[in-house]
């Protein structure tokens, strides 16, 4: 069997500009878990084996490297762990379809506020909350991972554009910062 080499979505190194840092993430396996009608109970049993449960709208859960993010009505993404065998849900491997970035640092909310039309200020968007919205015009799943860190998931085919948009904004904000003195 040939050895396949996993390549990252784009060849981009970590960047720090102003108060924010952008880096590629290797999130591991990504599976869509879409509950069937009346599948909630069986689905919950499967997720229990990972110490997780199906998240409420706009929420996520974490257990070690595994996390589950609400992504739609009766749909969630399991990230960082192989999907367990489970009844009650359609499980689709999405690992190769997404690019993941981490955006962190004190300036993170200023960067996001230029590209995201939803209120994700640190005061309005608690750690663990998830929002599915646009990063400028690109579809995105955004999760606040900790106090000053966000995870950004976009379509792998749009990874270069997403990176460019974020880096551009970080540069603009850094430039503004130098004018303030």
């Amino acid at each position: 069997m040939p050895e396949l080499i996993a390549k990252s979505a784009i060849d981009a190194g970590p960047v720090t500009k102003g108060g924010a840092s952008l880096a590629l993430m290797e999130p591991g396996p990504i599976s869509s878990i879409a509950l069937y009608a009346h599948g909630a109970e069986a689905g919950a049993k499967g997720l229990e084996t990972l110490g997780l449960s199906f998240p409420a709208p706009g929420q996520s859960q974490e257990n070690g490297a595994a996390r589950i993010l609400w992504t739609g009505r009766d749909q969630a993404f399991l990230i960082g762990a192989e999907a367990p065998a489970m009844e009650g849900a359609a499980i689709t491997d999405q690992s190769d379809g997404w690019a993941a970035f981490s955006l962190s640092g004190a300036g993170v909310e200023d960067v996001l506020s230029r590209l995201v039309a939803v209120d994700v200020r640190l005061s309005a968007f608690a750690p663990g909350q998830v929002v599915r919205t646009g990063l400028n015009h690109m579809p995105m799943i955004l999760r606040r991972a900790s106090a000053e860190a966000f995870e950004i998931y976009t379509f792998r085919s749009m990874a270069r554009s997403a990176w460019h948009e974020l880096e551009e904004v970080m540069g603009q904000l850094a430039a503004r910062g130098t004018l303030k003195s």
């Binding site: 009346h38 689905g43 409420a56 709208p57 992504t71 009505r73 009766d74 939803v118 919205t133």
Partner: protein, 94 residues
């Protein structure tokens, strides 16, 4: 204009795609008379006042929404999921 998606909360109009009157939900039976199909496909009211139409939360949860709004005051009085409540997730986000 903002719509309050029952799952995602208050969102900007740019996240939604407008489809048309909620008449589209009441599809006639395949053997319905031609007049019923003509009505379903082509005839729409144009009310000055309360109207109900369908919006798609394209840049969000990808759900079809039934929106009740007033064309005179621009008030949006209800936004409901066409698909009904979810089975797994509990209620709406805060």
């Amino acid at each position: 204009m903002r719509l309050t998606c029952p799952l995602c909360g208050s969102r900007d109009r740019r996240e939604f795609y407008y489809y048309g009157a909620d008449t589209y939900l009441n599809r006639p039976a395949p053997d319905a008379p031609m007049a019923a199909w003509d009505d379903y496909l082509h005839l729409r009211d144009n009310p000055a006042g309360v109207t109900r139409d369908l919006w798609y939360h394209e840049q969000g949860c990808a759900q079809w929404l039934k929106v009740t709004r007033n064309t005179v005051t621009h008030e949006i009085s209800a936004v409901e999921l066409v698909a009904g409540p979810a089975a797994g997730g509990k209620g709406a986000s805060e």
